[in-house]
Amino acid sequence: MATLNLNAINKSFGSAKVLHDISLAIEDKEFVVFVGPSGCGKSTLLRIIAGLEESTSGSIVIGGDDVSDAAPVDRGISMVFQSYALYPHLSVYENIAFPLRVQKMEKEEMDARVKRAAGILQLTEKLDLKPGQLSGGQRQRVAIGRSIVRNPKIFLFDEPLSNLDAALRGDMRVELSQLHSQLDATMVYVTHDQVEAMTMADRIVVLNGGQVEQFGTPMELYHHPASKFVAGFIGQPNMNFVPANVLDTSGALTVELDGGHKMTLPVDTTGVSKGDMVEVGIRPEHVKLAEDGLDITVNVLERLGGVSITYGTIGNGTRFCASLSGDAPIQQGKNMRLSVAPEDCHVFQSNGQVLRRKSAPALVA
């Protein structure tokens, strides 16, 4: 059993507080992705889990054992670094065997394990080469190979794909997901790429400024973002935020959007009152061309074939992006009318907190 529990982890570097009270319960065999903007503390949190960095306070429990003071190797974790951290003077074989050599494992056993890892990662042909003779993707696989030979309980990955080009990143994403099901291990994966997060994760931790904004499945995050930050982070293209004035809070929430369009939205109105300013979150993919609705000036039109992405403004210059059908009858520089279903809208208070949606798509279990 390799559950991972973080209890109220705090971390300061000198006077700079980098992590605030982070508590997470990660299940056995779960693939959890930490995602967030640069500098939000993802790597720091991962390094604390690995034992490379000491937390200022809080505890780490792996498989029921408190490992807060244990050395990395005694925690049963292994880590893949962003820069691969391969030993350039050692062959691929020796790189993968390194953790086993440290343990002084017997030759046959070591050989078998290295060969098995190389087999899984399609490196069998490359065992005699030096890391410098490999492509980026192969190097990445060697780094992964080194992390799997030890049969750790938990794998930690720090942006393992960020040095690869887009196409290779797509391939490696699939390979990593396969590896996860093959190895049946708990994995914690750091990235700032929300596509990686959405495609690979069982659950995603969204970090912002050293705090957990939300911890949930990709679909939970997409349909029920807890805050404006999460809503803006998850989904491509990003969600639009249109300022709105609250007109009525009885039952549903009636607002007047920037630009004058009025809507009644099925959300919980606790905490807002008439006259408050809120922001209505509308995903670009949730709008349709219509006779009546939001009045948008199209500034840029990108026709991608299947879809057309428009970048424009609404009301007093609020940016608005829409994703329409490939042959949508619109023109750059012209105006268009868009409608959006009230139940597809998100509403955020001025402090960024969401108003709970009453009628949202059922969650995918």
């Binding site: 490379l52 990395p72 190797v73 880590m79 670094f81 951290a85 030993y87 003077h89 390194f98 440290v102």
Partner: protein, 280 residues
């Protein structure tokens, strides 16, 4: 990006190089020419660049004039090698500690090392003499090795530390995560990667040791058999005459090992001195 030079710039660059090399190499050339001349020829006027009685005779005679010459050359190399080995034994762990570990007074002690570096041995000769006498080391090889080591350790630490700092920290962290101890990581990861740096530092220390042994030898050692070559060369200065040609020949032969080392390790030296200067 590769710089491209115009013809004129190239001419300028080569001209500057030629002037520079002439200054550096002229003494060696003159030493060589002097070593070929018969002694009486040396004081002949006017100066003759070449004459028929030039020969390699001095290279034969020098072993007779100074019978211990071979021993002196051996001593020179032996002392410089010992100094290098002992210095490196101290420098490697110290430089690693300065490059990677946090400890109290780290920067201050490093600054002190640099400060010590600024004193030449000459300033400290008399106190050193007393120390060595108290320890009973005068007139032994140790009298020339110990001060040599002491003065070269700071240089070594400074050079090697900056080299070690260029080895990515993540390599060591990866080893640490895999359960390797510091010593294991040092042995299996850091030192193999630092080989070019180790060679650069060793060569620098060896040359330093070779150059400074003269001072220590004439002050701390009276035993003829232990003298290194620079001190031994004095024996060519006789009561009546100085056999300049033989002295030059002996000096050249003595410098030869250092030159050979340079030739063989040149590619490491160049790589080491510029390592990390460019992003790869």
């Amino acid at each position: 990006m590769m710089d491209r030079y115009t013809k004129l710039q190239l001419v300028g660059i080569y001209a500057a190089l030629a002037v520079f090399l002439t200054f550096i190499l002229l003494p060696f050339f003159e030493m060589f020419m002097a070593s070929l001349r018969p002694l009486e020829h040396l004081f002949r006027s006017p100066y003759q660049f070449w004459s028929d009685d030039f020969s390699l005779q001095a290279y034969k005679d020098m072993w007779v004039t100074v019978p211990l010459l071979g021993r002196y050359i051996f001593n020179s190399i032996f002392i410089a090698t010992s100094v290098t080995v002992i210095t490196m034994v101290f420098v490697v762990p110290a430089a690693y500690a300065y490059a990677r570990l946090e400890f109290p007074f780290k920067n201050m002690s490093l600054a002190i090392f640099l400060g010590v570096n600024m004193f030449t041995g000459a300033v400290l000769l008399i106190p050193l003499y007393r120390v060595l006498r108290t320890m009973g080391l005068l007139n032994t090889y140790w009298a020339m090795i110990v001060p040599g080591v002491a003065f070269l350790i700071p240089t070594g630490i400074w050079l090697l530390r900056s080299y070690l700092e260029k080895i990515p920290r993540e390599l060591e962290e990866a080893a640490f995560v895999d359960g390797a101890s510091r010593m294991y990581t040092l042995r299996r990861v850091v030192l193999p990667l630092a080989v070019p740096g180790l060679i650069v530092v060793s060569v620098a220390v060896f040359i330093g040791a070779y150059a400074q042994q003269f001072l220590f030898a004439i002050t701390f050692n009276q035993t003829r058999e232990l003298q290194p070559l620079p001190a031994g060369l004095f024996e060519f200065i006789g009561y009546q005459s100085v056999t300049w040609n033989e002295m030059m020949a002996a000096a050249l032969v003595g410098v030869l090992p250092v030159m050979l080392i340079f030739l063989f390790l040149q590619k490491y030296l160049v790589a080491g001195l510029t390592a990390g200067a460019v992003k790869e």
